[in-house]
């Protein structure tokens, strides 16, 4: 069988697996966020928090919950790293410097998992398992909660109430993320991922001598790293490390974990707004872009244009034998079209166009299917932009899901889509204009520029992957990328929740003959076009200087 055919079959297998879990998981999540009942363990947790889960919150209260919880997480994770050197169970690893500790704390709380540290030589068991992996769960649960609040904004009328943040947070963690993680972690161990607390120990070698290894709770962190679209690796090599991703099957499973919740959330959305078809239209948009990007990526990587790849006879630099070109390409697209940023191969050594595809995937706002929660709310914002544009064309007040998209709503949506481009392009421009940031580049020319463009694209969009030749452990990058990650995560959430509040207060407008049918394939096409034109074009000049220049020269 040719590698290309095997790649296509793996993509099809993914489609089937995602299709099979779409209904049960999507419906399960809809029940979780609609149910009136609390599990006993949840009641204990609410008692521990001191929160009443049945109090309905309006958007400012919901937002305050999100921000307070995230601020607590940021502070806790920062302090945990700062005192690592004095904590037991840290393998004797030293405390992390302030700028890197800030960067890492911001990164994990913002669901980004950008890493300017080397996992295996910097973070001990306590920080990895008790700090970083915990935020993998919680930042994911926060993302889903905000998405659900927006969906309630569409579903509810004449209220302004969006649900209870603490209940959404706890339920997402306990009823969705944890059960899948337990099963998933064991699947990964069965494939060969490690799960122990052996610390650093020596293992003999074939020709004599010994290798030093880190033990650790790797599988349990790996599974939530993918499922929660986080992406921060236990080891520096991330999911390319054989202890994180031991074989082709675990590779396919990890890609599945990355995509399963973001896709299924469109079903949850359809259920909660009372029209499954509306969910399918959103799903269709996501799937179209995802499959299209994957096909393009496989094409450019198999074609392997570039002097070094031509010489080698294939684009295998930075890729593992057991995954090959296809398994690496599928992973690279899944991880950059979501906010994951885990890598099983190193994007910096992709072809010029391949690197460009990973960047464009993030720049579209990571909405196909996007991060857990953030993918859905990002896509719904784009849907609002699309109905607005369609409304302008026919001269009607736009509406979506029975809600009028008026001045207030479109302002929030516009603010949302301006945040990340402003952060990415602004920071990139400043970094390029300054003297020292470019000293961090490993490659020169167009690819060197791409390293910095990629870094801010990844940070502001909460992805976390890198053109890792860039030495990002400098005060400049630790600080500015840290700020980009926090603003890129929480400013959009402010606009989403404000929008949700405004929608929930409206009374529904009855559907008329002039209503744009947003559940039809025509709308899916309009939405794909809007995404590619509105956000794609924003970045075109920057992409032309980096990956396009590199790809066209090859």
């Amino acid at each position: 069988m040719s590698p290309v055919l095997a790649g296509v079959l793996q993509l099809l297998a993914l489609l089937v697996a995602l299709g099979l879990s779409y209904r049960p998981l999507g419906d399960h999540m809809a029940r979780v966020y609609s149910s009136e009942k609390h599990l006993r363990v949840e009641k204990w947790i609410y008692k521990g928090i001191g929160a009443d889960p049945s109090v309905e919150m309006r958007w400012p209260a919901y937002l305050r919950g999100v921000l307070a919880f995230s601020a607590a997480g940021l502070l806790f994770l920062y302090l945990l790293q700062r005192v690592q050197g004095s904590l037991p169970g840290s393998l004797g690893f030293v405390s992390i410097d302030p700028d890197q500790a800030f960067n890492t704390a911001a990164s994990f709380v913002a669901n980004t998992n950008w890493q300017s540290y080397y996992g295996e030589q910097a973070m001990g068991h306590v920080v990895q398992t008790g700090g970083l992996a915990v935020q993998n769960f919680l930042s994911a649960a926060v993302g889903i909660a905000v998405a659900v609040a927006l969906v309630r904004g569409f579903a509810r009328s004449r209220t302004g109430e969006l649900g209870n943040f603490w209940a959404d947070l706890v339920r997402g963690t306990i009823r969705i993320l944890l059960p899948i993680s337990v099963i998933g972690a064991l699947v990964l161990v069965a494939c060969g991922a490690i799960q122990n607390f052996a610390g650093i120990h020596e293992v003999g070698q074939f020709t004599g001598g010994a290798q030093q290894w880190n033990g650790g709770a790797v599988a349990s962190q790996e599974v939530i790293k993918e499922l929660g679209t986080n992406g921060g690796g236990y080891f520096n090599a991330n999911s390319a490390h054989p202890f994180e991703n031991p074989n082709g099957l675990s590779n396919l499973f990890e890609i599945y974990l990355i995509l399963v919740i973001p896709f299924a959330l469109t079903r949850t959305f359809g259920r909660m707004v009372g029209s499954l078809k509306q969910g399918y239209a959103i799903l269709g948009t996501m799937a179209t872009i995802w499959v299209g990007f994957t096909a393009l990526m496989m094409w450019t990587e198999f074609a392997h244009h570039g002097p070094a790849f031509d010489l080698a006879g294939g684009a295998m630099e930075g890729k593992e034998t057991r995954f090959g070109i296809a398994g690496s390409s599928i992973f690279a697209v899944a991880t950059t079209l979501t906010s994951t940023g885990a890598v099983n191969s190193f994007h910096s050594s992709y072809t010029g166009f391949g690197g460009g595809i990973t960047m464009l995937g993030m720049q579209l706002g990571e909405i196909a299917p996007g991060g857990v929660g953030s993918g859905l709310y990002g896509m719904l914002i784009m849907a609002i932009i699309a109905v607005f544009i369609a409304g302008l064309m026919v001269g009607r007040t736009p509406e979506y899901l029975g809600k009028k998209i008026g001045t207030r709503e479109i302002k929030f949506a516009a603010c949302y889509i301006l945040v990340t481009p402003a952060l990415v392009l602004g920071f990139t421009a400043v970094a390029m204009a300054l003297d020292t940031p470019s000293h961090s580049m490993t490659n020169s020319g167009a690819h060197g520029f791409s390293e910095i463009l990629y870094a801010y694209t990844s940070g502001a969009n909460n992805n976390g992957s890198a053109f890792a030749g860039l030495n990002a452990d400098t005060q400049w990058f630790n600080t500015t990328i840290g700020i980009a990650m926090l603003l890129g995560r929480f400013l959009p959430m402010v606009f989403v929740l404000a929008l949700a509040g405004s929608l929930a207060e409206q009374k529904p407008v009855p559907e008329t003959a002039g209503t744009l049918r947003t559940e039809k394939p025509l709308f899916t096409g309009l939405l794909v076009g809007t995404i590619l034109i509105v956000t794609g074009l924003t970045y075109f000049p920057a992409l032309a200087l980096g990956p396009l220049a590199e790809g066209l020269a090859a």
């Binding site: 055919l5 947790i45 293992v203 054989p242 031991p246 396919l252 790849f309 930075g318 890729k319």
Partner: protein, 224 residues
């Protein structure tokens, strides 16, 4: 909206309590439970898939690549490969421990060099020349077009335990010559240690270098 210091403080306190409670659940109970089950159900895999040779000595992990080199000679920066053994892929992206230097942990990683990077082009060129020189024998000449991509490129982790079946086959004549074995016997060894795609289409065909070298060692020993 009440923005007084008191209510902000109360809110942050609630956030912190929520964080601590959920840290106990997700950061203590969950990893301990998974570790417990994993250690009972899959002890070998959970502890790193260690491999022993015929004498029962642990010689590494099935999953972690290693080097097969001669002892470092004086004046050399890196030890020369021991050409009696099958050689793995290059690993130019591997780093060494620079933070906690009382350990000598291998730092996994890739080169991150772009396709037009001069250094990478140089590495590929050199690796190709070496592969051709090392693997050509009196009766077997390696052509540049025979050399597969994985033989001259570094992997993502730098710890790739596998090589492609093509690269393993390329090394057969050299291995046979250096160990005074039949080419056919070494060919069979490679064929026996070639793993096909899982379920026929998942992943790529590959050869585990450590497993192959252990079997090779046994073959050499059996021949006496």
């Amino acid at each position: 909206m009440n923005n007084s210091v008191g209510s902000t403080g109360r809110l942050l306190w609630a956030g912190l309590r929520a964080l601590l409670v959920l840290t106990v659940v997700c950061g203590v109970l969950y990893p301990l439970a998974v570790t417990g089950i994993a250690q009972v159900a899959f002890p070998g895999k959970a502890n790193g898939s260690e491999v022993t040779d015929a004498s029962g000595r642990v010689v590494g992990s099935e999953l972690i690549g290693q080097t097969y080199r001669l002892p470092l000679k004086e004046g050399e920066e890196t030890a020369a490969p021991d050409l009696r053994w099958f050689q793995p892929r290059p690993s130019n992206g591997l780093g060494s421990n620079s933070v906690n230097t009382r350990y000598s942990i291998i730092l996994s990683g890739a080169t991150n060099r772009a396709g037009d990077n001069a250094e990478l082009i140089g590495w590929v060129k050199d690796a190709k020349a070496t592969v051709i020189k090392d693997n050509s024998t009196a009766s077997y000449e390696v052509k540049p077009s025979d050399v597969p991509a994985d033989a001259v490129t570094s992997s993502g982790s730098g710890l790739d335990p596998h090589i492609s079946p093509e690269y393993a086959k390329l090394q057969v004549h050299r291995i046979a010559e250096r160990n005074r074995l039949d080419v056919a016997a070494v060919d069979r060894l490679v064929a026996d240690h070639t793993d096909a795609r899982i379920l026929g289409f998942v992943g790529e065909p590959r050869v585990n270098v450590l497993r192959l070298n252990i079997a090779l060692k046994e073959l050499v020993a059996a021949k006496g």
